[in-house]
Amino acid sequence: MKPKFGVVVFPGSNCDHDAYFAVKKILGYDAEFLWHKETDLKNSDVIILPGGFSYGDYLRTGSIARFSPIMNSVIDFANKGGYVIGICNGFQILLEAGLLPGAMQQNESLKFICEDVYLSVKNKDTVFTKSIDTEILKIPIAHGEGNYFADDDTLKELEDNEQIVFQYSSQDNNIDKKYNPNGSLLNIAGIVNKRKNVLGMMPHPERSCDPILRKTDGQKIFKSIAENIFN
């Protein structure tokens, strides 16, 4: 069965078309844009909150987008077990919405970083990662605020519940501070909620799907979703 991806478009989203193109044109799944002022998720099986600079990143990243009308539907959908993936700014919106724990700070270097990074896949017991056949993914990041923060209790809970899905690492799976591009605690690049139906990640899988770019590891995440959500 072909899944349908609903790609939310906020004012200032700029990876919405990349995400749509990746899942629909490259991977051949169904996809539809969802304007942020609407409330109908149009029978999507998976919601993508794409990257970008929703509301100009004013106040705090994701803080205003979190109150867009569509977010009430996304929160209901997630609370009923629906699958949601927030990429970059989408991850920041999920944090502001309280669908994932923690908060995002400016990169430690204060620089906007745009480069390929290696991710260690820490938990393969989620629909997002179950079908990934490698321990490491090479996926680009592009953000100024990817410095994940949470208090010690929350970090312990994330570890205890195996909610940390992706950590910045070296190519040979060494998770060390020197491979951490932004200062995020525990090298966190992506986490899921306790129920494991909501994923937030700073790296952009949609930017590493098209074979013409000679990097396709992002496909593995979308394929994993497609292969596992109906099971």
Binding site: I64, E96, L110, F149, G183
Partner: protein, 82 residues
């Protein structure tokens, strides 16, 4: 009508990359007595409520729900008759 001013600050224990960068600039300029620079937000707005109590309630809720992030920030506010 009341005028509210809200100050949002990052909690003391949380690293403030912007404050740190500003302080590096301060040192370059020769401000050697400066330390512990922290950068927060100053926000002002008007509230049109009949009583001060209602204004306070609204300012507090606005600050909690949107202007600050309870995970890493604290806020304080002042309200005066406008």
């Amino acid at each position: 009508m009341y005028k509210a001013t809200v100050i949002v600050k990052r909690r003391p224990k949380i690293l403030d990359p912007q404050g740190k960068a500003a302080e590096q600039g301060a040192k370059l300029l020769g401000f050697n007595n400066v330390s512990k620079t922290r950068i927060g937000k100053y926000i002002e707005f008007f509230v049109n409520t009949p009583t001060l109590e209602e204004a306070e309630k609204e300012v507090k809720e606005y600050s909690e729900k949107l202007l600050s992030n309870p995970i890493m920030e604290d806020f304080e506010f002042k309200i005066e008759k406008a």
